[in-house]
Subunit: 334 residues, 2 copies
């Protein structure tokens, strides 16, 4: 049971890399995959170590930092085109890449966003690492886990289940606690203290609820077609009954529209894009106006954009993902 | 057997639409799917009909042209915000959208490029329609057609097979003749006289060979990691033996490196991108330097870009597709 992530695949895109990792998750009790898109290495012109043990280095040819066993980093560089300096050491890099967590929707794995969104283009230029977890535990063979597409496998709803049968479904803890710790311990080039969180549909619900309950950990949130009021929609009611039991008061802890009145010390504007031709909007699964109303009452800044003609697919996401990346880049760089 | 294309799906992206069509192809003797990405309707500021039956219209609120049975088009418009004019008629629109044919590689259908390339962003801003056919006939149940991933289904190699068993494999005629005619007859908003052609791997081979044999029909060509010398690589030798028989002289008619000396009246520079970390490059399937040498000898302008670190996947294509779209936009707008 390897807890340290192992690289499964790597593919260059927009000068950075899509990398897939496998690891054993103690939170979920199973092996999990996740993707990271790493933007290109910091360019020498604007990336500087905070604390340097070598005197007056000039970063004209700084390469990507090499992590050392003692927790510091080594840069190999030369002071100018003619003179080579030995590698020097830094205790921490001042300008690491930021992180945007992306939570996917029902039926997805860690792959869909990486393949379909085109987010890497803007992530590359904004120096943002995209961290994309899977959507539920896998391989536990819980009876009935694969019986429906909107519950069980690929349908973790980013909560901690309280019902015995689904005790491994702890995607809230996995995303909000285990993953940031794992990134901190294994990827020194990522600064998890400057993070945003976003997602689509069920993942938009996940992003909003995790954000509101951890306002100290994330600088910004956005969502595409999120399920914002799951206690009042068919998908949410089915999932919450099974994962959390019949006491509806317990459900409110995973409902963005309920949480907004409690956790309303939101400084960055919440960005939500919703396609107007989205069938699920008309099926009353998403209920954005419930959230809008709750934000108004709680005095929380919300930008809800209704996009004419757009549906629920990744074509919609790809069209507007740049705006979301920029929204998060502005917030994490403050 | 419906020869007229029927719309199967439609999804908005970058203000235009991905639409999938189904039709019966007389050339291939089976039902085929293809995708078109339609860029947004012409903007009123720079799209004008050539010939107008209504006097001095002002195109402040021109809508997309409505094709009429007599072959002309109707615009509904009003002259300004306050005054409505009746619809007026044009015999032809002066500024239709251009077309870029995209030919996909082995194992692909008409869907991969539409889902993974992100080409719609630039196609939208350049007013280029993307036309993406499938990669082989389907549903004919020819014995052995599904036995290997590099021959038969999804592996039409954009040629007209001469061997009896594979007589339906006529992807050359389908792409170079049937599709343009079908577009002309059914999609008046697309100007097929101003077309470019591009593709990936096997589709890059298709784009180059179809272009060279039809220099009057396409304004430009480009390719990602194309198979440029199939008669000298394992994939090509396997396919050509089966489709074209054992006479190797017949193979040269579908080999870009052979064709370039014969059809060398190329005015627009040929653009080829090749990833240097592409495993298939090292497996000698692609052979770009053979083509480079042939272009030099034939005095054909070629821009071959070797891209360090990039592999054979759509991550590579997505990174550089904007350059290709612009390459074609420049040529078709001349």
């Amino acid at each position: 049971m390897e807890m340290k992530p192992t690289e499964v695949s790597s593919s260059k895109m927009f000068e950075g890399y899509n990398k897939r990792y496998k690891h054993f998750s103690p939170t979920l009790g199973c092996s999990m995959n996740f993707h990271i898109y790493f933007p290109p290495s910091p360019s020498p012109s604007h990336k500087f170590p905070v604390c340097i043990s070598h005197s007056s280095p000039i970063f004209s040819n700084t390469h990507f930092p090499i992590p050392l066993e003692n927790g510091s980093f080594r840069f190999d560089c030369c002071s100018d085109a003619n003179a080579s300096l030995p590698g020097f050491y830094v205790s921490r890099i001042g300008d690491l890449c930021f992180v945007l967590y992306w939570l996917s929707g029902l039926t997805c794995t860690d792959e869909n966003f990486i393949i379909k969104s085109g987010a890497q283009r803007a992530a590359s230029s904004e120096s943002i690492a995209l961290v994309v977890p899977d959507t539920s535990p896998r391989g536990l063979n819980v009876e009935g886990e694969a019986d429906s597409w909107d519950f069980g496998l690929s349908a973790g709803f980013y909560l901690n289940a309280t019902q015995e049968k689904w005790k491994n479904w702890r995607m809230y803890d996995y995303v909000a606690k285990e993953l940031p710790k794992l990134l901190n311990e294994n990827f020194p080039q990522i600064d998890t203290s400057r993070a945003g969180i976003s997602g689509h549909s069920m993942g938009g619900h996940g992003a909003l609820t995790i954000y509101l309950k951890n306002l100290d950990k994330y600088k910004s949130v956005s969502a595409f077609a999120p399920i914002v009021n799951p206690i009042n929609c068919p998908w949410g009611q089915k999932a919450f009954t099974n994962y959390l039991g019949g006491n509806k008061a317990d459900w409110e802890d995973y409902d963005a529209t309920c949480l907004i009145s409690k956790f309303n010390d939101v400084s960055a504007t919440i960005l939500i894009d919703q396609g107007e031709a989205d069938k699920l909007l008309h099926d009353q699964q998403l209920l954005p106006h419930k959230f809008e109303e709750a934000c108004r009452k709680a005095n929380v800044p919300l930008l809800l954009r209704l996009c004419p003609g757009y549906d629920h697919s990744y074509n919609f996401i790809a069209t507007f993902i740049d705006d979301h990346i920029r929204h998060h880049a502005q917030a994490v760089k403050l």
